[in-house]
Amino acid sequence: MQSFAEQVLELASRSAAWAEVYAVTEEQTPVSFEANRLRTIETKEVRGVALRVVVDGQIGFASSSRLDDPRTLVEDAVATARFGARSLMDYPTELVPEAPLELYDDDVVALSADEMVQMGQKMVDRVRRRGQDILCDADVRKEVVSVSVMNSSGGGGSYRLTVVSAGLHANRVRGTDILDVYESASSCHLKTLNINTVMGAVGGKLDLAEEVVPIRTANLPVIFTPKGVAMTLLNPFQAALNGKLVQQGASPFAGHLGEAMFDPSFCLYDDGRVPNVPSSAPCDGEGVPTQRTALIEDGRVNAFYYDLQTAGLAGTKSTGNGERSLGSMPTAAIHALRIKPGKVSYQDMLADMEEGLVVDQTMGADMGNILAGEFSGNVHLGFRVEGGRLVGRVKDTMVSGNVFRALGQIGAIGDRAYWVGGVFEVPYLYFPALSVSTRG
């Protein structure tokens, strides 16, 4: 693969003023349980090369999985450059060292399908013990990834990454009432993957969801769990802090850099350098070193995130957020969003609540006008609170609001942050009044 990438770069450099090759090989092994039993063992190999060129100042792009045909790849890329955007990239000229981010673990590479089956079986067995009417789907997955990017100005980087993850989904049907509870965890290292937490969380929520209770249409105090925060409230920030959308003026934060727009206790970071986290990398997909970027600091809009071309358009520097897949050019995207923990424990938030709602899973919350910060989703898993205690699960209920406005007057930020899906590290958030709508 490396020699093919070099061959492409060399060939492209003959007809392009600048060229960049991005090469990936990846092997994923998922084992899947369905309805409490092992069902499928898979192996997915992916390899491919993406080529970006600059010809007469314009950018062209092509990608291929064909390692036998460098010439067509180069021709495709050069042919599209005639239409492409004018390059404003500040080309990386140095090789980024493979930093000690602990992203690779030989134990993950050595993990056998048998061992993965045992991990999955353990999760399924533990949770289905809670009732005959519980059906579990589970998957345990390992990935071994190798990434390299190099350009004709001598810049680039390469790294290896392993990921092991476990997901558990429990389903319970009573009459036409369908309950779904799911949890997952992922890590670059086998040792730090904690399936006990996954099993425990699913089991605990099944217990809490035993009873279905009514709630009323009103403005109520609402606590979002870390998962609820990740599923409901962060997409608007990803959009509004994207340097591209800011540069286009489509972000409500455009023109407001440095302004206080949120509660002073609210801090939001993008971090591409958290050890042992699958979304980390020493460099981004353009060979720019990753970094920790304080996007919102003490309630102020502090920075936006950029890839090379967007940074060029905005007259600033890339923040190392040039994310990419094989099929298209890099775009600005986050690595991992982290909200700085506050001072209030979840228990104290609950204790403060006479009547309210705890939201853990939402559905469809990000399908509205997220650019403006709006969310409105079905409460897929949520609990009614009475006198500081969870009294049961609510159904047929929506929670709605504007996250940008809600974070201007936040009730409390949880005192500990939790990883959700390997991409978000967030605490519980407590809002004094959000719109809750329900049947009747």
Partner: protein, 452 residues
């Protein structure tokens, strides 16, 4: 390729093996603001093997097609590790066929210059139609050539063309941002982009108009649903629940989804039909080599059918429907919809509207999601209905409901079936799969709408 596959399958110890080989070429174009941001091409060659040993499945996907025999061996070994009671597959006819694809204005015949020029024209039309903050135009087309072969002797070569485009208008006033869009799709026929001037201009104006629309009060409403949103509704609210892989191993769901159960009033008919010519979700054979079919899901208000793969059909003792689909060679076939629609009724739009004293008219959708029982989708445009007439515009209207109650609460079905071809469906990590949705106007009572 026939020889390579035959050689790879020879002497393997498995109850069933299938091989998919795929070559694909795709073009994508993206405008943002006035600028052409990206033009790119990609080529992929790959394949997969799925093997059944006893009751266990093994699956291997790869790019090095030459190593096919090694991949088959690996899939068989993996399947053998899975110990459970045997799986039988519903018998399917052994098929040998070659199915080409062509479109009136075939994406393969039209030059990149022409495509870029056309999109640029429409992008500038967005700008000219209303005072916008920015625009985005995304276009993608693809040609896939697939081979399906199995250990039972089927060998099917198919060509698949696809095209999708979305035109987004973003308007801004002070800190407030709104957007509106037009999305279109076809089976590789560029003429779907002909004569779209009025639709594009309307999308641009809609984005600006939304800025001055009122927000809705959360609660329960009677809603009049336009055909585009109703199409998303039938796909999300009912279509996914009719996919047999959600049901076949869940005894309690099987009780809920028992054939003959009443879901709606006698005028409700819901169909999935992969044989409709030119629709984006259509195909000749599914990813298990089973011929495409028309399947009634609900007939006269009663559940009469569901969508199957060979495995789920056998397990439930029901007829094959040819709905095993995979988004590409990296994924195994799973049960999916094709073109899903509500058949037209007899009520006119005006009759429905005039009968609503207080309600909401909701149009088109940003998208929808389902958890089987609960579903949710967002309207891109909405109006208050007062005294049987359309009144002031609304924004931020997201609807949610319970499928069992909501289907029963469909009070009237319009006579104006309309199709949407711009949709992409996601399931099991496979997204976006080309599907079409269709519906006439629907009148539904007691729908929960989130709001201020």
């Amino acid at each position: 390729m026939r020889d390579l596959i035959a050689e790879a399958l020879r002497g393997q110890k498995a109850g069933y093996i299938e091989v998919h080989i795929e070559e694909a070429e795709a073009t994508h174009i993206r405008f943002r603001g006035h600028e052409l941001e990206e033009v790119g091409r990609s080529r992929v060659r790959g394949g997969n093997v799925r093997a059944l040993v006893g009751g266990g499945w093994g699956f291997v996907s790869f790019n090095d097609v030459e190593q096919l025999r090694r991949h088959v061996e690996q899939a068989v070994q993996q399947a053998a590790l899975v110990v459970r009671e045997p799986v039988t597959l519903a018998p399917a006819p052994v098929v040998q066929d070659v199915v080409g694809a062509q479109a009136p204005k075939d994406i393969r015949r039209e030059s990149l210059d022409h495509k870029v020029g056309l999109l640029q024209e429409y992008n500038e039309l967005l700008w000219a139609s209303a005072p916008l903050q920015t625009t985005t135009v995304r276009y993608g087309d693809s040609v896939r050539r697939t081979i399906f072969a199995d250990s039972e002797g089927s060998f099917v070569e198919q060509e698949h063309l696809d095209l999708s485009a979305v035109f987004v208008a973003v308007a801004r006033k002070n800190g407030d941002v709104e957007q509106a869009f037009l999305s279109v799709g076809s089976k590789g026929d560029l003429s779907v982009l002909d004569g779209r001037q009025a639709d594009i201009a309307a999308a641009a104006r809609r984005a600006v108009d939304l800025l001055s629309a009122q927000r809705i009060q959360g609660g329960t409403y009677t809603v009049l649903v336009d055909p585009r949103l109703a199409g998303v509704f039938v796909h999300e609210a009912f279509g996914h629940l009719s996919e047999a892989d959600h049901v076949y191993e869940n005894p309690r769901l099987r009780e809920i989804m028992v054939l003959g159960r009443r879901f709606g009033k006698p005028f409700l008919n819901i169909v999935d039909n992969a044989t409709l010519p030119g629709r984006r979700g259509s195909y000749a054979y599914d990813a298990e080599g089973v011929p495409a079919a028309k399947t009634f899901l609900i007939r006269e208000g009663e559940l009469v059918g569901r969508l199957h793969s060979r495995e789920t059909a056998a397990k439930m003792g029901e007829a094959l429907t040819g709905n095993a689909r995979a988004i590409n060679y990296r994924f195994p076939p799973i049960v999916r919809m094709s073109n899903t629609y509500i058949e037209p009724g007899e009520t006119t739009f005006d009759q429905m509207l005039s009968g609503i004293d207080q309600g909401i008219y909701v149009k088109d959708s940003f998208g929808g999601q389902t958890s089987m029982e609960m579903f949710t989708f967002s309207a891109t445009e909405a109006f208050v209905i007062r005294g049987g007439k359309l009144a002031e515009p609304l924004r931020g209207v997201n609807l949610s409901g319970n499928v069992f109650q909501t289907l029963a609460n469909i009070e009237a079905i319009g006579n104006d079936l309309e199709w949407s071809e711009g949709g992409g469906c996601g399931k099991g990590g496979q997204s976006p799969l080309p599907v079409s949705t269709g519906s006439p106007h629907l009148l539904i009572r007691d729908v929960v709408i989130g709001g201020k």
